[in-house]
Amino acid sequence: MADFIQLLVAGLATGGIYALVAIGFTLLWQTSQTINFAQGEFVMLPAFFMLIALGAFGLPFWGAVVIGIIVSAVVLGVLFKRLLVDPMIRHGVLPLAIATMALALFLKEAVKDFYGAEAQPFPPLAADINVSFLGASVALQSLIVLAIALTAVIALQLFLNRTQTGRRMQATAQNPTVARILGIPVDRMILLAFIINAVLAAVASALVTPIYLAKFSNGEYLGIAAFIAAIVGGFNQVRGAIVGGLLLGVIDNFAAAYLSAQYRAAIPLLLLIVVILFRPQGLLGRLEERTV
């Protein structure tokens, strides 16, 4: 039982990180039909911004995290939209998706060539101690990660549902044409979605990198995990991404502990294939109609 709770908390912590990345992924899809294959690299990169802020500018840890988030918002939010998505979207969904695959390759190789191929240590969020939780000994780090991820998710939900700007964003996602007629600045709302995605990715980066260390290839698995979380939950719903992320994190940890460490990565992939084949709209999603 103690093992079970330990794994569950660790799984929820990982899942919280996946959920953050997956939410941004679905936001981009909803507001601008962007399938971002570079989503994993969007999590890999901010850690390096933070490392540079720490090393070259000698900032304290939290200062570096804030700087990392701001730089990410500009580079992975605004610049990504202006330089790649805006010129590509007129060619259609698929060419844009392929362009983001090229972007993933670009970011990964650029970090490898110009920063370093070795994994860089990254400051931990909390001291490496365990606390007692429901009779099990749980890493404090996991609890903090889970708390921050949940806070970010709840803040986002409140923003989307309770503020005028958030509701305008939802309107933009549901029907851009009508939103425009109603006087909503659709373009600004889409830009905001890109910025939110970048900020969430940067937060996820600060949470995940102390565990995995900062490495150019971190995005490979994180990106796949985010796709899986988004699709399993339901591609057209933020709620789905949260459920999908948490579910995936838990499955991931239990599979590694109880089934096979070698095939740990295979379980989520099989889950993905099964969901796509039998319930392509995801566990919580609505079916999108096909048009001629």
Binding site: F37, L84, L94, A97, I98, A99, A102, D113, I273
Partner: protein, 351 residues
């Protein structure tokens, strides 16, 4: 039209002649790279069938190359001839490709990209973890070169001609295929699946065939790859290969017959040319000084050193300006000039 056709034929013959003559002016490493180009092109031609003609996104082509390579490595190191590997790999890849096509019947575009991506990653895990058959991360070494009618293709040059002949056969078969009713059905599938269905095209069957044929060519590419490098481990068959092959097809021009050839030149040959720009300039005699000033070899070597970064950048810029790749870029230029004043038939085709 006839003029362009004659020019095209002359250029084509010149390139074929150059490919045949090339090994006599190259060191073994140069021949190796050129062979790698031919082998890669075979896989890209396969993906072009699936993606370019039938419009089905696949991020699994690298996995099929892996299946072919492991089939060749396992069979030939156990004393079987390479011919048996051809059959085994082609049949296995065709069958698995056929099965992988089933998701494509249910989901399209990005969902399909994810399914094939998942498949590709799964297969990589199998290559890495099933040590009893694949040798795991230690791989399989001492893969022999094949022999043809009793003649052992041991030298780089002999094996290069063998691969070039394979490429030629695959090209001819594909050329025939895309002009056959099958090829037309693929294009109908890409352009508008629902309309194709209502016109009586069995879209179900053609989707599966498109996947299976593309996968089969991926397998054949792998069968050639294993004896070329003579040692394989799982690393080259990771998702990166599938991604690279996809980008190659897009860069060259997906849906154009020569797209994969051009794409493979950019991905495989160009970095080597940039690396050895100095020597290439020497061969050009009087122009070499001009070129050295305009394109300094040091700068080109720098690009070659960070080739993947530059390549990914190039792909993004190219996609913004011409989503139909390099060939599409030129095709549009020439067609645009040709159709003024627009003849109704051509205009309809362009639109």
């Amino acid at each position: 039209m006839t003029r362009t056709r004659v020019l095209g034929a002359v250029a084509g013959l010149a390139i074929i002649a150059a490919l045949i003559a090339a090994p006599f002016g190259l060191k073994p490493y140069g021949i190796y790279i050129l062979t790698l180009w031919a082998v890669t092109t075979v896989a890209a031609i396969g993906l072009n069938l699936t993606l370019g003609y039938a419009g089905q996104v696949s991020l699994a082509q690298g996995a099929f190359v892996g299946i072919g390579a492991y089939a060749a490595a396992l069979l030939t190191t156990h004393g079987w001839p390479l011919g048996s590997a051809y059959v085994a790999a082609a049949v296995a890849c065709f069958a698995i490709g056929w099965l992988l096509g089933y998701p494509a019947l249910r989901v399209q575009h990005h969902y399909l990209a994810f399914v094939t991506l998942a498949f590709s990653t799964l297969l990589y895990l199998v290559f890495r973890n099933e040590e009893w058959i694949t040798g795991g991360i230690y791989g399989i070494s001492n893969i022999p070169r094949p022999s043809l009618f009793g003649y052992l293709l041991r030298t780089p040059r002999d094996f290069y001609y063998f691969c070039l002949a394979n490429l030629a056969l695959v090209s001819l078969a594909t050329w025939w295929l895309i002009r056959s009713p099958w090829g037309r059905a693929f294009v109908a599938l890409r352009e508008n699946p629902l309309r194709a269905l209502s016109l009586g095209v069995d879209t179900r069957r053609y989707t599966l065939i498109a996947f299976a044929l593309g996968a089969g060519l991926g397998g054949i590419s792998g069968v050639l790859y294993a004896p070329l490098v003579q040692y394989i481990d799982p690393t080259p068959f990771s998702l990166l290969l599938s991604l690279n092959l996809l980008l190659m097809v897009i860069v060259g021009g997906s849906g154009y017959f020569f797209g994969p050839f051009v794409g493979a030149v950019v991905a495989v040959l160009l970095p080597e040319w940039l690396q050895s720009a100095d020597k290439l300039y020497d061969a050009l005699g009087p122009f070499s000084d001009v070129l050295r000033t305009v394109l300094p070899p040091d700068a080109l070597r720098y690009v070659a050193k960070h080739y993947l970064v530059a390549y990914a950048m190039f792909v993004m810029v190219l996609l913004v300006f011409s989503p139909s790749g390099i060939i599409g870029f030129f095709d549009k230029r020439f067609t645009a000039r040709k159709i003024e004043p627009p003849a109704p038939a051509t205009a309809a085709k362009v639109a």
